[in-house]
């Protein structure tokens, strides 16, 4: 099995599915000749041609709107926002147009669009190239939201997202692009939307995380293992729909939970999962549910500031330690 980085796995998932299904296409700014700002679609235009690897004008609302229009004619577009932060410029098309299409047409028209959102901090992008805005979309009906943390999941979820007959927001984390790699099968396989995965089994505390935060949790869990504390790391992978059974299971096992994400703490999806646990797992809890996120402020540019604003593994470590000692 070949070793792939996270970003290679994303490319590979798209490429394989495009080979299988001629209806699948990519569109966005600079996705063609340039191969995408992060080179995710490098070489695609040579293999699939300019109509399936569609370089667009700089207009997020039209990109999303046209993608939706292509979808209702039977194509399966993968729409790329160059950075997740720019989804705000096409926001209405995502939430009100794509999100309601199936419902409002009396289930007559579906909108199979995959929406790529390169998100996340740690790359000195400043306030507008570092955001993790997934919570806005988890709150909006009609949209599915996934956020892989590993190359395997990245590829498998990409293929699932493309095959799904609904708009799926695919939050890929820029910090992970070239920093994580693993063996990933060649060819086609899927990771189901809506299923979480235990990335590290443990008995004392559960961390529920996704995307880059999974790696923070794994780092912290390794440190704690040395101190004799056994942490279970549950990677949600899908933010909506999310895997309620898997959450209940891990909480039942450990009785202590931390929910952690890089997105802003207040109003973040962590609140959803934490309050789901508070409601459904009340009797299982041995300690208060702890939530972590980045500080409620724009992502600062200078590394010294960003470091103190973005969730990091030290903070996760300390929160877990507190929980263990509760």
């Amino acid at each position: 099995m070949p070793i792939m980085t996270y970003i290679q796995a994303i490319s590979d998932g798209m490429r394989e599915e495009m080979r299988r299904d001629p209806k699948v296409m990519v569109m966005g700014e600079d996705v063609g000749v340039y191969g995408g700002a992060f080179k995710v679609t490098k070489g695609f235009i040579d293999e699939f041609g300019a109509d399936r690897v569609y370089d667009t004008p700089l207009s997020e609302s039209a990109i999303m709107g046209c993608g939706l229009g292509m979808a209702i004619t039977g194509l399966r577009p993968i729409v790329e926002f160059q950075f997740a932060d720019f989804i705000t410029s096409g926001f209405n098309q995502v939430v009100n147009n794509a999100g309601t299409m199936f419902f409002r047409t009396g289930n007559n028209v579906s909108a199979p669009v995959t929406i790529r959102c390169p998100s996340g901090a740690g790359v000195h992008g400043g306030p507008f190239h570092s955001q993790s805005p997934e919570a806005w979309f988890v709150h909006t009906p009609g949209l599915k939201v996934v956020a892989p943390s590993t190359p395997y999941d990245a590829k498998g979820l990409m293929i699932s997202a493309i095959r799904d007959n609904n708009p799926v927001l695919y939050f890929e984390h820029k910090f992970l692009y070239r920093r994580v790699k693993e063996e990933v099968p060649e060819g086609l396989f899927t990771v189901p939307i809506g299923k979480a995965e235990v990335k590290m089994a443990g008995d004392d505390i559960s961390v529920i995380a996704y995307g880059a935060s999974v790696h923070l949790a794994l780092d912290a869990a390794e440190r704690l293992a040395e101190e004799g504390i056994s942490v279970e790391v549950l990677d949600l992978r899908s933010l909506y729909p999310f895997d309620k059974e898997a959450i209940v299971e891990t909480v039942k096992k450990t009785g202590r939970v931390l929910v952690a994400h890089e997105a802003w703490l207040t109003g973040g999806v962590g609140g959803e999962y934490a309050s789901f646990i508070a409601e459904e797992c009340f009797e299982m809890l041995d300690a208060p549910i702890k939530r972590l996120g980045s500080r409620d402020m724009p992502f600062p540019f200078a590394p010294q500031l960003e470091d103190k604003m973005v969730l990091n593994s030290e903070t996760v470590y300390r929160a877990l330690k507190d929980l263990a000692q509760y």
């Binding site: 296409m25 109509d51 399936r52 667009t56 004008p57 207009s59 609302s61 039209a62 999303m64 709107g65 046209c66 993608g67 939706l68 229009g69 292509m70 979808a71 209702i72 004619t73 039977g74 194509l75 209405n92 098309q93 009100n96 147009n97 309601t100 199936f102 419902f103 409002r104 047409t105 009396g106 289930n107 007559n108 028209v109 579906s110 909108a111 199979p112 009906p141 009609g142 599915k144 007959n165 609904n166």
Partner: protein, 380 residues
């Protein structure tokens, strides 16, 4: 590619509104700094069409077509008049937004598409006429307004917001302009799948100010998409007159800025609307790229049936009432010898009966069952 700006619709008409008209002037007093009243008053005149339709042949229309268009025009007028009645009787859910006075635009444009070629229609909120012209039944329309299960949305969305994929109609969301990029994407999508189809979208003088108008048209222009945009300039966006909506002489002046074809058409002449849109559709089908068409008319009722229209100068309404699209088409048909007055009356009686029957049928359609909401959000 040629980019024409046709003679303004009213070039030949006798001036009906003048800057010295005191009542009109008074209504225009309250404009923010910088908005030019003078410019507006001059504009109003040039928008007014002549009282009679130019006496000529229109495009590929034959006698049957002239009559069919009149029938649709009368149908939609009748359908909407009864909507007002039903609204007052409390039988309608939500608001009612009528196209009275501007029906020729939606009917003429909708009729210019070709369903058999796979053309697709993206109507806006004042385009019931286009739905009908594109094959939607009046019964389903009433079901929609009454929120019944027999409506295309199963009672989930209201008034003119309805899709019908079997007929190639994609309904709008409320956010004006949002459907423009969707229609452009559909045009490109159909072309990329080897189809020879055209998509058509409508937008108002107000909706034309929104960002999606620009992004969508620019996208269409670059892609040379088989797409036609009909701008329904009915001179008001809710209460906002065009002087406070755009700064150019005409909305169509934007065509050159996109590098696409632009046309102005008398929106109260159903045959000219048909002809112009038909030409644009044919050109698009042949690879000639997008066209934007400004159809000039006047909204003869309030924004919705709960709006009393107080902000529109009476002079304006009176001048336009004399140019009612039905009256003008009737006179034209008679003059051409296509339909006698007696034949017109027979046609109208038939249509009236159809409409009344549609209301009865719609009223018999059950209220939607809340169970239908289960599993309604995601396609499997």
């Amino acid at each position: 590619m040629p980019r024409t700006r046709k003679t303004p619709a009213g070039k030949t008409s006798k001036t009906k509104l003048s800057p010295s008209d005191a009542t009109l002037d008074q209504k225009l007093e309250k404009l923010p700094t910088g908005v030019s009243r003078q410019k507006y008053l001059q504009k109003l005149d040039s928008l007014l069409p002549p009282e009679d339709l130019p006496d000529r042949a229109y495009g590929d229309l034959k006698k049957k077509g002239y009559i069919a268009l009149y029938r649709l025009l009368y149908s939609i007028r009748g359908t909407e008049d009864r909507l007002t009645r039903l609204y007052r009787q409390g039988k309608i859910v939500g608001g009612v937004y009528l196209s009275k006075g501007t029906e020729a635009i939606s009917v003429g444009a909708g009729y210019a598409l070709d369903r058999s070629q796979g053309d697709m229609l993206f109507p806006m909120h004042r385009d019931l006429g286009a739905h009908i012209a594109f094959g939607q039944t009046i019964e389903r329309i009433y079901c929609q307004y009454m929120g019944r299960s027999g409506s295309p949305t199963m009672g989930r969305d209201g008034n003119t917001h309805f899709s019908d994929m079997d007929r190639g109609i994609i309904g709008m969301i409320s956010h004006l302009g949002s459907m423009l990029p969707v229609a452009v994407g559909a045009a490109i999508g159909l072309r990329n799948q080897g189809k020879n189809a055209v998509t058509l979208n409508f937008i108002g003088d107000g909706g034309a100010s929104i960002g999606d108008f620009h992004e969508g048209l620019n996208f269409a222009a670059v892609a040379n998409a088989p797409f036609v945009l009909v701008i329904e300039n009915n001179q008001y966006a809710y209460s906002t007159p065009i002087v406070a909506q755009y700064g150019a002489e005409r909305i169509i002046d934007r065509a050159i800025g996109y590098g696409i074809q632009g046309e102005v058409v008398d929106g109260n002449n159903i045959y000219e609307v048909y002809e112009t849109v038909r030409n644009a559709v044919n050109r698009a089908r042949e690879g000639g790229g997008p066209t934007m068409i400004e159809a000039v008319s006047m909204r003869m009722r309030g924004h919705s049936e709960h709006d009393d229209h107080f902000y529109v100068p009476k002079e304006l309404l009176e001048a336009w009432a004399q140019r009612d699209p039905l009256l003008r088409a009737q006179r034209f048909l008679a003059k051409q010898g296509f339909l006698t007055q007696a034949e017109i009356e027979i046609l109208e009686k038939q249509v009236d009966a159809e409409i009344e029957q549609a209301i009865v049928n719609a009223d018999a359609s059950p209220l939607p069952d809340p169970i239908s909401l289960n599993n309604s959000v995601f396609a499997s």
